[in-house]
């Protein structure tokens, strides 16, 4: 039964991702006093792209077409780590957060390769910038996880969630606050949102992710976009699961599950609003300010780890 | 006891003083010929001492040794040196690095040092102290000559003085070593001088001078 629910929540994370993207876009439009597109718009985009055919540059090798598929496959398999409405996920107890983070790395690896296979200037540019961001994001991301897992005495995400469920919301330690902030920053960077990257620009000066995907078209582009949406969804779900899992179904009953789903959606909406606010209020950082931004995250994560020791005393 | 014994004892006991004099003379002498003469004198004194010892000890071996020294060091070597000087036609002076005054001063200091050095041993082994001191002084002087005199011949001479000192030491401490050894030593000394003479000629032929302090092609 738990396995079944695990499958369900995995599918939910995969399928609802475009919707989240749409909602965030709509909210942004509202904040900018615009009408904005329908929240279902991303789905129709994906359908349209899937119907087109794959344009491949003459210089490109098989890597060019393989890359989007691998990216998509990897992020989909990463979904299996994230508990949504119940504390256990498909591989929640079998794979720890290190494996999770490095799975995301596989995706990035091949996305960069695909971008560089295009043979244009933009692919390499985007890849090189993404290399910078992801390299610097890796440390704080893992350290935040480490801090939380030390407190929870468990290296697996589900384990951490179960421990947190056992706690009262108000006796959450400083470690969690620091870790949460770190993960928030890193999530923005990883998902390629403001202020690190602007998903809505094609200016050569600013674009990172868009630079990489510039050459892709049709189904490949669709897969990449979808994968990107899933990544945002997964990261937000991760934040929720690690720091505010309360409401998850302890035992499997229809009521409990429904309640859990409701709670989850509410939290997700809050986060979506948060993202939208940032995206429409903050300006994108200059390329070489990004390291400082992530440096803040690193410092916070290190603090978090040190606090775990202090908290023990 | 009869007169000869007294004379022999006197010779043996006073020779040290005369040796000291020769040392000082060697120090001040500016010309090779003088140095050679002084060396001959020195060897003669030593011969006298050997003879005295031989007489007192009544040992035939010692007499033989005395004869050998007289022939080799008093007659042979000085003669050979004069022959060399004539043959090499080199400048007469010894090419000293120190002025006579300095040399004398240094030599005197050396004599004092040798007395100081010898004392502790001399008591230990009950030998005439001043003779031993003289031998050490001779060794030091020989060394000093070799270091301070640039002329090849003077180095040979210094070596001989040094040899004299050693011989004297052997004599005073142990009445000389077994005859065959003494002869071997003398033989080596002679061959050594012969070779040095050969090399002196070669140096003269190749460098047109005899100043060994200027042989500085091989260094480092």
């Amino acid at each position: 039964m738990t396995v079944l629910i695990g499958v369900v929540q995995a599918l939910f994370l995969v399928l609802a991702a475009p919707l989240l993207k749409g909602i965030v876009g709509r909210l942004k439009a509202r904040f900018q006093k615009r009408q904005g597109a329908s929240i279902w718009r991303p789905y129709s985009d994906l359908l349209k792209l899937f119907r087109k055919d794959d344009l491949v540059p003459p210089t490109a090798s098989w890597v060019f077409r393989a890359a989007p598929r691998i990216v998509f496959a990897v992020i989909v398999s990463a979904v299996a780590f994230i508990p949504v409405i119940q504390s256990s996920a498909l591989v929640g107890h079998k794979g720890d957060f290190i494996l999770f983070v490095y799975l995301l790395a596989i995706g990035r690896f091949f996305l960069m390769l695909g971008a560089m296979d295009g043979g244009s200037a933009f692919g390499g540019m985007g890849a090189s910038r993404d290399a910078l961001v992801s390299t610097l994001a890796e440390g704080p991301l893992l350290l935040a996880f480490v801090a939380v897992s030390i407190v929870a005495h468990s290296p697996t995400i589900s384990g951490i969630v179960q421990w947190t469920l056992g706690q009262n919301f108000f006796d959450i330690s400083a470690v969690h606050i620091l870790a949460f902030t770190t993960l928030g920053i890193v999530a923005l960077a990883e998902a390629g949102r403001m202020p690190v990257d602007n998903p809505a620009t094609h200016l050569e000066l600013t674009m990172i992710h868009e630079g990489m995907v510039l050459e892709f078209s049709g189904p490949s582009l669709a897969l990449i976009e979808w994968a990107n949406a899933i990544r945002l969804n997964v990261l937000l779900a991760l934040l929720i699961a690690l720091f505010a899992p309360w409401g998850m179904a302890a035992e499997i009953t229809w009521g409990g599950l429904g309640l859990a789903l409701g709670a989850y959606l509410v939290k997700l909406l809050v986060l979506a609003v948060f993202v939208a606010v940032i995206e429409s209020s903050v300006a994108k950082l200059r390329m070489y300010l990004v390291p400082d931004f992530l440096g803040v995250a690193t410092a916070l994560s290190i603090l978090a780890v040190i606090f775990t020791m202090i908290a023990k005393r | 006891m009869e007169f000869a014994d007294v004379a022999a004892v006197k010779v043996v006991s006073t020779s040290a003083v005369f040796l000291m004099m020769t040392i000082v003379l060697l120090a001040v002498s500016r010309r090779i010929s003088t140095s050679i003469l002084v060396f001959g004198l020195q060897s003669a004194i030593i011969t006298a001492q050997v003879a005295g010892t031989a007489y007192l000890e009544r040992s035939a071996e010692a007499w033989v040794v005395a004869g050998l020294i007289f022939v080799v060091k008093v007659l042979g070597i000085p003669y050979a040196f004069f022959w060399l000087v004539a043959k090499l036609k080199s400048r007469r002076d010894v090419q000293a690095a120190t002025t006579p005054a300095q040399s004398v001063f240094i030599v005197v200091v050396m004599i004092f040092v040798s007395y100081a050095a010898v004392r502790s041993y001399a008591f230990g082994i009950r030998v005439p102290e001043d003779a031993l001191a003289a031998s050490v002084a001779l060794i030091l002087t020989g060394a000093f000559l070799m270091v301070s005199r640039g002329k090849a011949l003077m180095q040979m001479l210094g070596l001989l003085v040094l040899e004299n000192g050693i011989f004297l030491a052997a004599l005073t401490t142990t009445f000389g070593m077994p005859l065959i050894i003494e002869m071997g030593i003398l033989f080596d000394v002679l061959i050594g001088l012969l070779l040095m003479g050969i090399f002196a000629f070669r140096i003269r032929d190749t460098f047109e001078h005899l100043d060994v302090s200027r042989l500085r092609r091989l260094r480092g």
Partner: protein, 659 residues
């Protein structure tokens, strides 16, 4: 004599005697073909006996005639077996690769020497890891250096090459001196250098001697392992060797140093105070970070690989340091985990690093270029090589499903065990090292994305790259075999985990916690899932159409518009500018008209600060002293005589004070 001893003897005899003799003696082609076959045979024999000892843990011991009362004996216990296994399993594909590589690159005369020395090189490394007396070990240790430098010199004797070899030899000899000293420090208590007596003597050594031995081994073996700051020789020597040799040097020879360090630190000394652990951890962290940072900036493929070897050795040392730390705080099972991580990573690094070096050889064989900025688009021209190298890059970047990840994962886990320790600083330091390792991982990912992307993808940058050809089957075979190993170990690490954890148990007296191992069960499933979903998505995309890349309206893009390796690493170079201390040189030609230049060239030069700060001054001191002594030899005979007299006087004075 058991059958296994016989097998070991076969290995020694074939590699030590038969192959060199047949190579150097045999004129005819058939003889040399035969000797190549013998080499393969010998390596196989070694592989068989090694794997048997590794998996069954039954030592094999053989005695050789002793030299002047110094016994010589070889023993394969589990620790030796692991590294012997490593040597043989890497040299096998290397030999296969060499069959055609050597034939392409050298005329008959050199090829002979190449083969002979290659076989001796493998032999010497085997002797190092299997010897059970100090004498045999040191002989093997020195021979390893000599033979490898000989192999480098076969390639040619240009000035700069000679200088590099000289630095290599000099540093190796310095390291060897430290090793010799560390062995001899045992002599007073062990009365000999048999490993058994050393092991028993270690227990009752004074703390000072233990520390001295540890520090000496740290320096001596660290020099061989190429940890910073003893790494100067590594990026000089490895790139200039023939590719199969660099594969062996980087993949295997460095590991002999790791072996020796483990042998001393764990087997003999059995751990020590916690500062040993911190020392090794610092060395590992510094080597890892600086190594990969320098690798990131290297455009010459082999130099880049050499620097990344420094990085990986750093990771291995992180594992060893963690193990020492846990041992010092008395929790052997976590020490075992860290040790397993280190040993497994040594093994895996051997596989993917030799794969990559052989790959570099294949690239230069196919395109006659080794600088990344002169390559590009090779994937379409050398497809098989490309795939193999891609797998290698994934492994070295530490991606899951590939073997590079296995060791790093275990290392992460052992870091996470830090908070179980009593000491406060260990509780903080170990978890923080997770961040360091993560940064290293991220950088290496960027580094190898750059390498593969620039070399194999996009447009070819020179016409050599344009006309690159796929390499011969034997080369491809070797590459594919190694790639298969990388993938296989990555998917089913349990195969190696079992024997290695037994080994760790023997070394630190405790098995790694089993719950740490079970995570690997998920690996194959992950692989399957990714494979299935990936192939499903292929169904979704029906038609494929080839069209020109969008060039912002330009008629056609040229390869010069692509990002080069240099530009790719520019952002990271700017972020870490402090580390590189690069001084830029911008040359504008002709100089008299700087505003209408015909050519503007930009390059940034780096010399490692260790070289400037430490090595050069030291050498200058020594040479200066020598020159001063040279002046003492004035050439004036009178001065010489004076020396003698003064010596005599000094001795007489000394005599006065004697009584």
């Amino acid at each position: 004599m058991t059958v296994w001893q016989a097998t070991f003897w076969t290995f020694l005899a074939l590699l030590g005697v038969a192959v060199p003799l047949t190579q150097l003696g045999g004129k005819s082609k058939t003889v040399r073909a035969l000797s190549t076959f013998l080499l393969l045979l010998g390596t196989l024999a070694g592989l068989s006996v090694a794997s048997r000892c590794l998996w069954q843990g039954i030592p094999v011991n053989i005695e050789l005639p002793s030299v002047a009362s110094f016994p010589v004996s070889l023993t394969i216990d589990r620790l030796s077996a692991l590294f012997f296994f490593l040597i043989c399993s890497v040299s096998l594909p290397v030999v296969i690769f060499s069959t055609s590589y050597i034939a392409h690159h050298y005329e008959a005369g050199r090829a002979r020497w190449m083969w002979a020395l290659l076989s001796l090189f493998v032999l010497s490394m085997a002797v190092v890891v299997t010897s059970s007396t100090g004498f045999a070990f040191l002989v093997g240790w020195e021979l390893m250096t000599l033979v490898s430098s000989g192999l480098i010199l076969i390639e040619g004797d240009a000035k700069d090459r000679i200088d590099n070899v000289f630095i290599y030899l000099l540093m190796m000899h310095g390291g060897a001196a430290a090793v010799v000293a560390s062995f001899f420090l045992y002599w007073p208590s062990a009365h000999g250098l048999e490993f058994t007596s050393i092991r028993s003597a270690s227990a009752n050594l004074s703390a000072g001697v233990r520390t001295a031995i540890f520090l000496l081994t740290f320096v001596g073996f660290g020099t061989k392992a190429g940890i910073i700051p003893f790494h100067l020789w590594l990026p000089r020597a490895h790139p200039i060797a023939p590719s199969p040799v660099s594969a062996l040097m980087s993949g295997v020879m460095l590991k002999t140093a790791v072996y020796a360090f483990v042998r001393f630190g764990f087997d003999f000394l059995g751990g020590g105070p916690s500062w040993w652990g911190y020392l090794v951890l610092t060395a590992g962290a510094v080597s890892g970070l600086l190594g990969i940072l320098f690798a990131l900036q290297e455009n010459d493929l082999k130099r880049m690989l050499a620097y990344s070897s420094i990085e990986n050795v750093g990771i291995i040392y992180l594992g060893l340091g963690t193990a020492l730390l846990f041992l010092a705080h008395g929790s052997p099972k976590w020490a075992a985990l860290a040790l397993v991580a280190a040993l497994l990573h040594s093994l895996n690094h051997a596989f993917f690093k030799s794969l990559l070096f052989l790959g570099a050889g294949a690239i230069s064989d196919g395109s006659h270029r080794l600088s990344q900025d002169e390559l590009g688009g090779l994937q379409k021209r050398m497809p098989m090589t490309g795939v193999a190298i891609l797998i290698g890059c994934c492994s070295i970047a530490g991606l899951p499903l590939f073997n590079g990840f296995v060791g790093e994962w275990l290392l992460f886990r052992s870091f996470l065990a830090g908070p179980n320790l009593a000491s406060a600083q260990a509780q903080v330091v170990l978890p923080l090292l997770v961040g360091v390792l993560a940064l290293i991982g991220g950088l290496s990912l960027a580094c190898f994305v750059k390498a593969y992307g620039v070399v194999f993808l996009g447009r070819p940058r020179t016409e050599q790259a344009e006309n690159a050809r796929e390499v011969s089957w034997s080369m491809r075979g070797a590459l594919i075999a190694l790639a298969a190993i990388c993938l296989g170990v990555g998917l089913f690490p349990a195969v190696l985990l079992a024997p290695v954890s037994h080994l760790a148990n023997r070394l630190v007296g405790g098995f790694p916690p089993t719950e740490e191992m079970q995570f690997f069960a998920v690996m194959p499933w992950m692989g399957a899932v990714i494979l299935v979903i990936g192939s499903l998505t292929l169904l979704a995309s029906h038609r494929k159409r080839v069209t020109a890349t969008w060039g912002c309206g330009l008629p056609s893009l040229t390869s010069r518009m692509q990002y080069t390796a240099t530009t790719f690493s520019k952002p990271l170079r700017m972020v870490f500018a402090r580390v590189y201390k690069a001084d830029r040189k911008i040359e504008i030609l002709p100089e008299d008209q700087p505003y209408s230049p015909e050519s503007v060239s930009y390059r940034s030069v780096r010399t490692t600060s260790f070289e400037r700060a430490f090595y050069r001054p030291a050498v200058e001191r020594v040479v200066g002293l020598a020159h001063w002594l040279r002046l003492m030899q004035t050439g004036n005979i009178q001065v010489y005589l004076l020396y003698i007299f003064l010596t005599l006087v000094a001795l007489l004075v000394f005599l006065r004070f004697q009584r």
